[in-house]
């Protein structure tokens, strides 16, 4: 079969360019092992002096075939796959997947489970933004911020560990609710964290917001127009830093987000500094949501009332025959999901995360496509860096906050 495209792929394309460009231009290979590419992004950059004239991202180094893997897992087993897509925001991915499957099933989730989900995904947003801020600052040269950010992140990971036994790959959400009740003492720990967190954000801001080096490296850098971003598929904080108030939590609310009082921060400068400000403000808003969720947590069950889908309580399983049968059936065969297709969007820390799930009436999905924010955002890299200085590339791509696991799936 004859294949279209460039013969020999991206390498031949760049070698071809190198031959064409002549003595003044230079082709530089950045990555895939460059530390500031946060994983394995490779950028092929053509330079005229220090100015970038052409940029070609090369992705796929972390491709693991997760979408194929979905097709041989039951719906419940697949929760563990979603953690591993965006490993800095595992619970956001759990949530997107669970919501999509629940939409296919037509399951109602009890309020307490919904509020708990909100609380945990917002903790995940803090976790993700903290890693972003720490590594972004290190890229630009502010070493100490990293240590401050990871101090708070460590506490969040311990909170995760306390309820799920895992620091990163929590897999805590279940189709129909949550795995377990949080353990005793867990709320107090979250409360203690959330009480001090706003003052910790002030600390980061003290280090960076009016720091002349930070401002010099970020202000006016990494500009890309709003029209270009919308056309190239960019989502999330990048759009909000360009003045567009767009957030799936507000526009198409899911999991009771409409019952929470929070702001969607925006800036209009549309540069690396504005994106930093947007994410800092998002951290404050997330802390606000977590506090609201904790104060107003409704009481009630943790799981939906559907014995065909949700595992019975341990207690019932040991005393009731019916419960034992359901447990056995769900664990060995999984549950059937009706035919149909849904596209469920949530606002992940990076932008629009969409799960397109096609069910065929069996216990495994027929097809799952993940519309991941990092993949969409990375497409805008050439537009963003062409014409700027090579020294600004790191700050520019750092402000996009991509995760390569999320890009390559």
């Amino acid at each position: 079969m004859s294949e279209p495209g460039v013969p020999g792929g991206i390498v031949a394309e760049v070698e071809g360019r190198e031959a064409e460009t002549g003595p003044r231009r230079m082709v530089l290979n950045m990555g895939p092992q460059h530390p500031s590419t946060h994983g394995v992004l490779r950028l092929l950059i053509e330079l005229d002096g220090e100015i970038i004239t052409h940029c070609q991202p090369d992705i796929g180094f972390l491709h693991t075939g997760i979408e194929k893997e979905f097709e041989v897992k039951t719906y419940q087993q697949a929760v563990t796959l979603t953690d591993r897509v965006d490993y800095l925001a595992p619970l956001s991915n759990n949530l997107g997947w669970c919501l999509a499957v629940e939409k296919l099933l037509g399951l109602e989730i009890p309020p307490q489970a919904q509020w708990m989900r909100v609380m945990l995904t917002e903790l995940t947003r803090l976790n993700s933004h903290l890693v972003w801020l720490g590594t972004h600052a290190i890229d630009i040269g502010a070493m100490s911020v990293f240590l401050y950010c990871f101090r708070e992140r460590e506490e969040i990971l311990r909170i995760f560990e306390m309820f799920s036994g895992q620091r990163m790959m929590t897999s805590y959400f279940r189709i129909g609710g949550l795995a377990l009740e949080p353990p005793r003492g867990w709320y107090q720990r979250v409360k203690k964290f959330i009480d001090i967190f706003p003052s910790r954000v002030d600390e980061y801001e003290n280090l960076l917001t009016s720091n002349p080096i930070w401002i010099g490296r970020t202000r006016g850098v990494g500009f890309i127009s709003l029209e270009d971003m919308l056309d190239l598929g960019v989502t999330g904080p990048m759009l909000r830093a360009a003045g567009l108030k767009i957030d799936a939590r507000k526009n198409q609310p899911y999991t009771s987000y409409d019952k929470f009082d929070f702001e969607v921060p925006t800036r209009t400068e549309n540069d690396v500094y504005a994106r930093y400000q947007v994410r800092i403000e998002e951290m404050r808003q997330s802390a606000k949501i977590i506090r609201q969720a904790m104060d107003g947590m409704p009481s009630g069950p943790w799981k939906a009332d559907d014995p065909h889908v949700v595992l019975p309580d341990r207690e019932k399983m040991k005393t009731e025959m019916e419960a034992l049968i359901y447990h056995f059936k769900i664990v060995t065969e999984g549950f059937r999901v009706p035919e149909g297709e849904v596209y469920q969007v949530i606002e992940s820390p990076r932008g629009e995360l969409g799960y397109y799930v096609v069910g065929d009436g069996t216990a495994t999905p027929y097809r799952v496509h993940m519309r991941t924010p990092s993949f969409g955002n990375l497409q805008a890299v050439p537009k963003m860096v062409e014409g700027i200085l090579i020294a600004d590339v790191i700050a520019s791509i750092g402000s996009m906050d991509f995760v390569l696991g999320d890009t390559d799936r």
Binding site: G5, V6, L104, G106, D231, L232, Y343, G354, R371
Partner: protein, 157 residues
């Protein structure tokens, strides 16, 4: 032709009025609108939806393999209108022996990588795409992994 209950949805009715031959079916299920579009008309329908119906964002392009049924592949487009706060799914059925469809990159530049991905993983070719190539798999990979007749496990030896 559209059924009457689909015509209640503004976007569906608008596409039908724009080109009645373009829409071959559709459904409104679980709060989501899906329109099936004739593959030959996909670019004109997309351009119409973007320019006249405010669907300025293309969220993703992907595909579903219905092997061994024919037409074997469904190419699926997810559109988003920020102004109308609406999402719309377009679907084109492509036959297995003639795996070609027009690229929508002239309408949205974001289609570029998504179409590369569909080409890479399903082997569907997009006409007039600015640089169709494998994007996730190695350049010299044989086969298209997300096809249903491609094994999940096994070695390539």
């Amino acid at each position: 032709m559209l059924s009457d209950n689909l015509r209640e949805h503004a976007a569906a009715a608008a596409v039908e009025n724009f080109d009645s031959d373009a829409v071959t079916g559709g459904k409104f299920d679980r709060g989501e609108l899906t329109l099936e579009v004739a593959p030959a008309k996909i670019v004109s329908v997309c351009a119409f939806l973007k320019e006249r119906q405010q669907f300025i964002r293309l969220s993703s392009v992907t595909a579903v393999d219905r092997y061994p049924a024919e037409p074997r592949f469904e190419v699926v487009y997810h559109l988003h209108s920020i102004e109308r706060n609406e999402r719309l799914r377009l679907k084109c059925r492509v036959r297995g022996e003639d795996l070609v469809i027009e690229s929508v990159t002239p309408v949205w530049r974001s289609a570029n990588w998504y179409e590369c991905e569909v080409f890479d993983l399903f082997g569907i070719r997009f006409l007039r795409h600015p640089g169709l190539r494998r994007i996730l798999m190695p350049d010299d990979w044989e086969g298209h992994p997300l096809r249903k007749d491609y094994p999940v496990t096994g070695s390539r030896a």
